[in-house]
Symmetry: C2
DNA sequence: TGCAATGCCGAAAATTATACGGCATATAGG
DNA sequence: CCTATATGCCGTATAATTTTCGGCATTGCA
C-alpha cells in the first residue's frame, strides 16, 4: 500500500516543513521535472500519505495561554460514545487518545485561563453523564511541539 | 499586541483548515480585495500570529504505527539541559511538555513498533545520565487529533 | 516479440502571487 | 479648526506558479 521511495519520502519531508513550497522548488530539490513532482504529490494525497496542508497559529496570539492534559475515566462502557461525540465537537480539545493504564482517555486541551479550564471540566467533561474521575496536568512550558513526522529511521534503531 | 479583528480571525480560521487556500478564495470569503488580504496575511505572519504552513502526513503511511506518551522524571536539576537537548534532536519525539505533578516531563513519541519503543527508552531516554524513572502510556486509538486552534470563545464560556 | 502500464518530460494555458500608485478615512498636533 | 501622517483598502500590471496535455523511455509480463 504505502511503499514510498526516496523521492516520495523527500517530498513528504519537505512539505511537512514548508507546506507552501512551490513545485518548482520541490522539483529542484528532488531533481525531477515540475510535472513529475505534481504527479507525485497528487498521488501521495490520493494514497492518503499526505492528508492536507494547515496553517499553524500561535496559541498565545489567540489568547490560548493555558495548555493542559486531562485524564478521564468511567466504568460504564456506554459512556464512550457520548463522551467522544461531545469531545469531537469541542474545539478546545485538540486531541483525545484512548490509552492503556488506569485511565480511559487522555485529552489535550487548550484554553485561555484557569477559569476557562474550570468551566471546561465542569460544563463539558462532567456534563457527560457517567464520567467518574478526571486528573488534570497543567503544562508549564512546552520545550518541543511539532507535527513533523520522521521519514527515515533514527540511528539508534537499525 | 495581538488584537485581531473579525476578518483576521476568519483568515486564521480558514488558513488553519486549508493552508493552501488561494488569496482570491480568501478574499471572497472575507469580502475584501485580494491585495488587502495579502497585506493582512503578511502582517499576521509578521506579528507572529501565523507561524507557518505545514503538510500533514499520515503516521501509518510512514510506518509510525505506535504512539506513546512517556512520563520522565529526575532529581538533579542539571539533568534538564541534557535531556532537552537530546529530546530536541530526536524526530521520534513530537512534543515535550514540562508538566505539574509527580513527573518532570511528558513526551509524545511516535515509533514503528514496540521494539522501537524499547530501543527509544533504552538508548535515548535512559541514555541521558541522571534520568531516574519513566512511565509509558500506549495509545490504543486516537479519537481526535488536530492542530486547529479555536478563534472564537465556546458557548460554555462567557 | 509485442503489449500495457508507469514514470518522466517540456510546453501551453489558466490561475495565482506580488508589487505598485492612488484613494478614503481616522488620528494627532499645532 | 486644519493640516500632516498613518492606515487600510482598492484595482491593475507584471511576474511566478499551477495545471493540463501529448509524447517518450523504461519496465514488467504474457
Amino acid at each position: 500500500m504505502a511503499d514510498l521511495d526516496s523521492v516520495d519520502r523527500q517530498l513528504v519531508d519537505l512539505l511537512q516543513r514548508q507546506g507552501q513550497t512551490s513545485y518548482s522548488d520541490l522539483a529542484k530539490a528532488v531533481g525531477l521535472a515540475v510535472s513529475s513532482v505534481t504527479e507525485r504529490v497528487r498521488k501521495l494525497s490520493e494514497r492518503g500519505v499526505l492528508l492536507g496542508v494547515h496553517g499553524q497559529a500561535a496559541p498565545e496570539a489567540l489568547g490560548l495561554d493555558l495548555l493542559a492534559f486531562v485524564f478521564v475515566s468511567w466504568s460504564d462502557p456506554a459512556v464512550a460514545d457520548a463522551f467522544l461525540t461531545r469531545i469531537g465537537a469541542e474545539p478546545a480539545v485538540q486531541e483525545a487518545h484512548h490509552v492503556t493504564g488506569q485511565w480511559n482517555y487522555l485529552l489535550k486541551v487548550r484554553v485561555t485561563t484557569t477559569r476557562m479550564l474550570e468551566a471546561f471540566l465542569t460544563n463539558v467533561i462532567k456534563g457527560v453523564p457517567g464520567i467518574e474521575r478526571t486528573e488534570t496536568l497543567i503544562v508549564l512550558s512546552s520545550a518541543k511541539e511539532t507535527t513533523y513526522l520522521p521519514v527515515v529511521a533514527p540511528a539508534w534503531y537499525g
